[in-house]
Subunit: 492 residues, 4 copies
């Protein structure tokens, strides 16, 4: 495999007990210095991927221009010296956490957007999601003589496009995407066109914004439209391809129509609270999850405290519904980064204490409800419990704003193997005992569906969302994973 | 002046409409790899200074070892390769925002701790505060042949120590500090001693912690004791010098006793909410400020929203007292840094939008109370108001968790010149009109004193705190500033 | 074209009035830490390319490992931290000046070795030379759906290999190289094989060395065998492919046999004087050129001075043959690098003075013969003449150790366009007048052939060497160049 | 000592078997962008110190500006971005190898020029040489309360100046230098004056150049005047202080007059061959050393080969006098740097092979005379002998262009301790046996004096040069060294 050719930097994530969105994408056309807009958009999408970022622009004089960097957008793509190398009115960009195949060992050539030169023109693409038949496609393409440069599943798309017999890039892309299984929200560009596509199920988000008449932007989330002052027009629909050229927006439907199944975890955790998903405020949905949780799983306590920052809206909702005062019992260090370069042993062992500290004077002697977004491996929850008890709390009650995460995601979220997921092998009560807390309750799947606006809860025969991480019900068969031995949930 | 010899890097703070604590200090003795503890302590104190940091350690083999770096503690002082150069059981450290004299143009040699070699031994010192007669002392020392290497006011102390006729370092330090006017909390070290001192008024904080029997730490705040698992013993008292040697703690009183006047703004803004100041939880004090504010200045509204993150505890208190729901109407981008290196024009102009975004779906049509910690120049408040109105808010009411900041601080806080302070030339109503909001109210000085636990409010004849930034009542004459033309408040 | 996607660093070569070899290649198999040997070999070949270098190694645990860096070998490939990432007993490497297509704007992805994963295994290749039909091949491959990642002509080879229907890598390589026109000396590797190939004319050098029984190395020049203590076995022959696997050396002859035409300029300038080419000491050949030159073009003078360092051996020979004392009239600054990053205007204008200085006390009043290796644009010769006259020389006589360079090289040497070559449009006398020197003489083509050991000079009907840069007689049709408008020499 | 406070980078010199000049100094006044001239001058003086460099300039708007960098001048002081920070018409600079006290562990604060602010103005100084009573002065100054920032002996001067009761900087400098013992050539500046001083013996060189009327430069060597196009006016005389202000040159004689004793090793090795010392071409002197050596110590041989590059002129002279052909038997790799950062074990062990390679085809079967500049530890000579014999030489005869180096230099040259000097404990014949060569001969002290123009050789009662490294006759008592236990040569 190409993936065994490596140019790594040794960095260590400070904490791997969390789920991570793998990517954010952004594109804009019709503005001077488009790359500056893309940089701002990517900065607003930084929560979707902090490892690296890239921007490709096109201008008539230099053609396609590209820059990729490890680290935060603001550390590189704000500098005049770099942005001057990215001129032109059309640009796309990407932020990434890591790709399938090379976790923790990413190389700059794995950083998107990817660029390909075709017989009648070139194209760059930025992909959010995951291709579930990427390995099969990769083998097929290698057999046919394609040379892969990265370990990214997304590179398949550009090779399939290169081999398409179609002449126009959008047509090549449709050809390619019909071969691809999985979840994808793509922003792509040719010399003159800005293109957005979502897979038929619409698992990952992608929205369309308008800066001014005929000037469009595409973004993973609406919060990135806000930062550039763009108006939110609508979501790119599941299965839709939009093409913007010369200020004209065209819509195509290259795929067979299916019932959409948007990722419900985007509501719970991945998206920013100031984004709008499916017409709903993400913040308000999360607050409502807290409300549902307070109804489903009340507790007698003195304080409701969020595990910062992701548990905050649900904690507010829980407090409001339960009447128990909301308080900042755990304080987050704002100056904590995502990785360490060759840390000392002592620093490595600090783990969550580097990021979180208990507000000791507040907690002492109190019965505390802690609201967190999810439990993955359980290691963080356990450390937080210890910190809270060390500080003298009388009781600790965990309330989790999502159902138990018992199945890995194969659609663009970085989850541990199933055997590392606490909920894969334990019941709620077993987890409570394992974490040694006074109580532990997760929101039910139906409660979560209610919180996102489905008054009747989950439609078991035809679920409204992708909730595979909770239910094991995978809307797209994870072909590569099954080949590697992953066992689907037994039919009940 | 030495300060005209410069080796700058061109960086721009993204926003200068805030007050900034200038420093945090930390020291530990009696542990293996003391510098690792100091690094953790400084990481926990990073909110007190983000520009640069330094650590000095001592070990018998190499003597004094030093490392200073621009940027965050976690980016440098977590790496094994650097920490290996700082061996030994005794270490002190410093984080800084900037010093008097070279704002925005700091050089590595201005970064503390400072080291001096004396006739019978050497010492390193780290200083939080500001020396108000530093320029006079500097002139005097230069006339006598001392060579200054930095533009920092703190360097005077080490030169005064070098010229002391005392033989022991603590005695030299007492000699030196008796010549110094202003505010100082100092952590210092010799080859065998860890030393902490606070000025007679105790303007800046300094606390003593114990890791185990005979193993002590000194820190600006208690939150940094928590991260290393140290127990909070007590504050170093105003006017006290503590010396730890061979596990023995000694206390000295080198200064004439005065009534303490701790900085009240540490409660409002500078200290971390999980620290304990004067026996009180900082978080709880801030929440109480919100309660007082809701009593003093109620408003009819649909939502109480903090300006994140500093306004959050007061907003919680305001909501609890007023019964108006608390909500996250403004979302903070966690990936915003403190500075830009040569940014593009467009990025520079984004200002606060790079950091904050309005939760549009939540705010639309609502009457919103915004709770912020302070108003300095008013530029940020104005932009926030615009963002809130753009998002469709029906009314905007500002509630400020501190009295009007009408006077600069000369005791270790970076404040603009008086003519830049909005409150220096405007009444509350004029500021409201200037900001074009529906209402604007500051907590009263007495309300603030009540919130910090003074039930009877401020003792006008003998104030319990330093509140010069609000009152213009300077407990130490700012000699250097007066010489440069600063006019004290006219006697009433 | 892919080449219009750029990630440049702005650097400026300090002087472009010279010919530059484009590459050096090295490989070794059968030793522990093979990459360390390759690093040493590349260091010894640094004169063949200073812009960038790369090493690929293979070890059973990690598979293929790769590192590429801009700058000198010694600045990167000597560090333990980097070399640890290149484990294994088999490694190849490459140093480069620049490739066709992206001069002065090289990107890391243009740096070799290139790696490709094929259906039954992968391979890495490092190429010295130039493919004269690369653009046609590239178009063909792109039409068929291959995606190019670099602007290098060498990448064609790996794509042709990927598309070969052969199963074994050496067979794939033979397939590919039969499609390729031009000059190439290639070192390649699979997981288990070290491979060396030279084009049928053997334009570029490639030698085989033996470290111990069954432990082989391949190198552009013998000087790199010396540094690792390897014995020089023989040259890889023109048109030969050698394959080393498990200590066994096999030889293949994949091409139709042709009369070899080795690059005569390797003798004059490119190769290191301590290398052996075609059984002859390069140093001795150059000294002999000086002898021939002294016979063909004597001059009355006081001193013979080399233009350092390349003119030195010929100047020694000239002195010995003529009896005129040899002297170091021009001193070279050893601390001059190859490029500047954004230099000041003044520095940029210094040109050759940054590198060379006249030994004024020696030169004053003297008649000086300057011996240089070649005249390209003539700009350096002119500056040197001015420096010599400024220093008070009485007469300046230029003697050039190569015939007039009147034609560009298309076989792996970086030459300016023909209209920039002084000798393309001027006779010897016109050049003398242009340079304003007392005399200017080039060695004749026959004299040069004699110096390399052809006692009867050049065989006009069937020349023994490639001397296209002097004669315009191109042994391989430069297809791409002709398509772009290059006019071959008219038949006489 | 201050020197025990360290901020090191781990680098290793690739070879420590050589003597190293410790510094070069340069200054200019009266030109626009003076720092650019200084950068060029320092580039030409880079052979005098490769570890680090610094420039201080002064302009009316910003005052004094400073930049110091590790590494070569051309890598830093050619960039527009750095040079823009050094505006003004007056500048001085310094390149250094390392200072006494912190060899191999230099810190940026040890890099000159040093700057001091005095009561009536400031000054910067750059020093070449060594102060032999620095430690005594340092103790005295520390006792009086001066704080040292570096481990450099040169810092004493600036502290002595700061404490002078004189008002003008040149007068302060005279005061200071009268306290100083040892060797010094100093270039200094105030806001308006450029100052040059040489110690009474004139051990280190310093020359005066003129760019145009009233526009002066000071430089360690004349080769650096050449690069900026300045005319060589004269040497600053031993014991002279020159002051240039407003285009006027003044000369002072602050010291008691003594018979000069210039360093004879500057002729042999340190100075560049294109410099003029004491009215003589350095190149010509070295060639003459070869002539003397051929007369004193002839040998029957086939070739005379220099050990590059320092042995080259003497080898030419030896060849010319003996009639034995001169040849480049050893080839130097031009791409070898001075240091390694954390090299692999294998690279570290390569030693001299990384830099030198034998021209095997030339040497095989030949009787070879190798001419080298000096023998220090003998380790390099031994490796070269081995390389030559490995290549098949029949005989190896070493001829050394200096007398045996038996004593360390305390006047600004980095020499090993005496016990590491081969000649300190061995006779010529013992050294020959130790090196296992066929013959080994050093030039005699009288021969060397003849070569530098003293027809009658050395005046034993009153030597014309400082030749302490050969004779043990120290013209200035090395006070600090004696205190540390160094034993002077016993009186005979």
């Amino acid at each position: 495999m190409t993936s065994d050719i490596t140019e790594s930097e040794k960095t260590l994530p400070w904490d791997d007990d969390a789920l991570h969105e793998e990517c954010g994408v952004f594109g804009v056309t019709g503005v001077a210095e488009a790359a500056n807009f893309v940089a701002l958009g990517l900065h607003a999408l930084q929560h979707r991927g902090q490892e690296a970022g890239g921007i490709v622009s096109h201008d008539p004089e230099h053609g396609f221009n590209s820059a990729r960097r490890f680290g935060y957008v603001r550390d590189h793509f704000t500098k005049a010296s770099l942005m001057e190398t990215l001129p032109g009115p059309l640009a796309i960009g990407h932020v990434r956490y890591s790709t399938s195949g090379s976790k923790g060992n990413t190389q700059l050539r794995d950083v998107q957007p990817f660029f390909g030169e075709f017989s009648l023109g070139g194209a760059a693409i930025a992909h959010n999601g995951n291709i579930t038949n990427a390995e099969a496609l990769r083998r097929e393409l290698i057999d046919a003589g394609s040379i892969f440069q990265s370990s990214s599943d997304s590179e398949c798309i550009i090779h399939l496009m290169a081999r398409s017999l179609q002449r126009k890039v959008p047509d090549r892309m449709m050809d390619a995407l019909r071969r691809v299984e999985g979840a994808f929200s793509i922003v792509a560009m040719t010399r003159t066109k800005l293109i957005g596509v979502r897979d038929p199920l619409g698992v990952r988000p992608l929205v369309l914004g308008r800066i001014s008449e005929g000037v469009y932007a595409l973004s993973s989330e609406t919060c990135a439209l806000d930062i550039i002052g763009a108006e939110f027009v609508r979501e790119v629909e599941p299965g839709e391809m939009v093409v913007v050229e010369n200020g004209e927006l065209q819509s195509h439907r290259p795929f067979r129509q299916e019932r959409p199944r948007f990722c419900i975890f985007e509501h719970v955790y991945f998206s920013r609270p100031d984004s709008i998903l499916g017409g709903r405020s993400v913040y308000e949905t999360r607050r409502q999850i807290g409300v549902e949780l307070a109804r489903e799983a009340p507790a007698e306590a003195d304080l409701v405290c969020p595990v910062p920052d992701s548990g905050t809206p649900a904690a507010i909702g829980f407090s409001q519904e339960s009447g128990i005062p909301y308080a900042m019992g755990i304080i987050r260090n704002q100056y904590m980064g995502r990785t360490f370069i060759e840390p000392t042993e002592q620093i490595r062992n600090m783990g969550v204490r580097l990021k979180l500290n208990v507000n000791r004077a507040l907690i002492r002697g109190k019965r505390v409800i802690l609201v967190d977004d999810s439990v993955v491996r359980g290691t963080t929850s356990r450390k937080i419990k210890e910190m809270i008890l060390d500080a003298g709390a009388a009781e600790v009650h965990f309330r989790i704003a999502s159902p138990p995460t018992a199945w890995p995601c194969f659609y663009g979220v970085d989850t541990p193997n199933r055997d590392k997921l606490l909920a894969a092998s334990m019941t709620e009560e077993e987890m409570r005992a394992h974490l040694q807390v006074d109580s532990l309750r997760f929101i039910t799947l139906n409660g979560l569906y209610r919180a996102v606006g489905e008054a009747d809860g989950r439609d078991a025969t035809c679920p409204q969302y992708c909730d595979a991480c909770f239910s094991g019900d995978y809307p797209v068969t994870p072909t590569d994973q099954i080949e590697k031995g992953f066992a689907l949930k037994a039919a009940e």
